[in-house]
């Protein structure tokens, strides 16, 4: 599964990386975020593009957003 790592990045980079990944391929992918703002922004962006977003908590405050159609 493709994984986009946005840890340590502040807006708008996580959403930019989401759009870049989407432009490369419409296949589902995961996005790693490490803060609430990124989680909100990427979730909002993904839902606008028709993805269902599932949040899975991982270690050290990192969450994996699973974007699926």
């Amino acid at each position: 599964m493709r994984e986009i790592d946005t840890r340590g990045l502040s807006c708008p980079e996580p959403v930019l990386k989401f759009h870049q990944a989407l432009a490369e391929s419409p296949e589902p992918f995961d996005v790693l975020v490490d803060n609430e703002v990124s989680r909100e922004n990427v979730t909002r962006a993904a839902q606008k593009k028709g993805f269902a977003v599932t949040v899975k908590n991982e270690a050290n405050g990192v969450s994996r957003l699973e974007l699926r159609k």
């Binding site: 502040s10 803060n35 989680r39």
Partner: protein, 374 residues
């Protein structure tokens, strides 16, 4: 971060951050608009209920970093923004010590942003408030802001990034909020003495915009409230334009639209809308440099990832890079008055043009130096 499976009421409120929703940011924008007009009504300068650039300039003056006698006052609003954001981030478990993403660059961007904004005489928040007061000169400022942010988005599309931040110590991340708290204590220990322009080490304007201020507790209280709400809602006036240009997203823009509508409506009700260009409060009519000053400032905000308010709120939640930008703005404000780059009601300063142009060129250099793609 919160696990989506938690269902207790408190956790749902925490997990579903209302203020980060569309309704939430509309509410926050409206409250900020209301608070700004309240502050104006109770003593802040006209069309300057809240201005992060102007207020940081006033703080620089209070601390003696510059000696422009008409703009010296330790604005409690700024202190409240940081501390309100700090409190909200602690309560909602979002205080996150971080930093290390090109700190020196961010410090310089802060300097440039303040210098550019003080050519126009307003940060984006004040731009909106000036528009809400009928100040036509703010049209040029807003246009400049939009152009500057737009140029920033061109860099972002080319892969501009200042790099990843890393976790810092809680101690390190607490230093800026502690500094702000220390300023608050300083204010309380050395309050303004009627008829005197100094109290202990602090300067207090007897005339001019620095002498116009709402009562301390109102300013601080509103600052705390706005700081908390802005932290929860991620309110950002630069991001509002940036997201519109980059992604055609309206979310943040709705916040500033709400701010404008409420501020304009209240101004109308209070008879405080005066359409025109000449004679506007704490403003000048040099349209070209109102525009260009904000192009420089807007580009600096975009490259630094947040408007001046947002940088304060992020600093309150542990972002040391944002704290450095804020301190940069303080330094830039001092430079603006010491080096004659700041404008006044009479027009631009003797070196306003030089500073705006140099600042813009430095921003371009920062932009190109940090793009990943050709």
């Amino acid at each position: 971060m919160k696990d989506v499976s938690l269902t207790s009421l408190g956790e749902i409120f925490v997990k579903k951050n209302f203020f980060a929703t569309t309704a939430g940011i509309l509410v926050v924008g409206a409250i900020i608009g209301l608070c700004a007009i309240l502050l104006q009504k109770f003593g802040n300068p006209a069309n300057m209920g809240i201005c992060v650039a102007c207020f940081e300039r006033d703080i620089a003056g209070a601390l003696g970093f510059h000696r422009a006698a008409v703009v010296q006052y330790l604005r409690p609003e700024i202190l409240g923004f940081v501390l309100g954001s700090l409190l909200a981030s602690i309560v909602f478990r979002e205080f996150k010590p971080r930093g290390g993403s090109a700190p020196m660059v961010r410090f310089v961007l802060g300097i440039i942003a303040a210098i550019g904004a003080l050519v126009f005489l307003g940060c984006p928040w004040r731009t909106i408030l000036r528009l809400a007061g009928g100040d036509g000169n703010a049209l040029f400022g807003f246009a400049g802001l939009a152009v500057g942010v737009f140029i920033g988005t061109l860099f972002l599309k080319r892969g501009y990034s200042l790099g990843r931040s890393e976790t810092q110590s809680t101690f390190s991340a607490s230093l800026f909020p502690l500094l702000i708290f220390a300023l608050l204590l300083l204010f309380l220990v050395f309050p303004q003495i009627p008829g005197q322009t100094q109290s202990g080490p602090l300067f207090y304007s007897a005339k001019g915009p620095g002498s116009m201020h709402a009562p301390f507790w109102l300013s601080l209280g509103i600052g705390l409230l706005v700081g908390a709400l802005a932290q929860r809602s991620r309110f950002c006036t630069m991001g509002a334009l940036r997201d519109l240009f980059l992604f055609r997203y309206m979310h943040l823009f709705l916040g500033i639209a709400s701010l404008f509508v409420v501020a304009f409506g209240l101004n109308l009700a209070l008879g405080n809308v005066h359409f025109g260009f000449a004679g506007q409060p704490v403003a000048h009519t040099d349209s070209l440099w109102n525009f260009c000053g904000m192009v420089t400032a807007g580009l600096a905000f975009a490259l630094a990832g947040g408007c001046p308010g947002r940088q304060l709120f992020m600093a309150g939640e542990g972002d040391t890079d944002a704290a450095l930008f804020a301190i940069g703005m303080l330094v830039g404000a001092a430079i603006a008055h010491n080096f004659g780059t700041a404008s006044s009601g009479a027009g631009i300063g003797p070196h306003g043009i030089h500073a705006t142009v140099i600042g813009f060129i430095v921003c371009l250099a920062i932009g190109f130096a940090h793009c990943k793609r050709a």
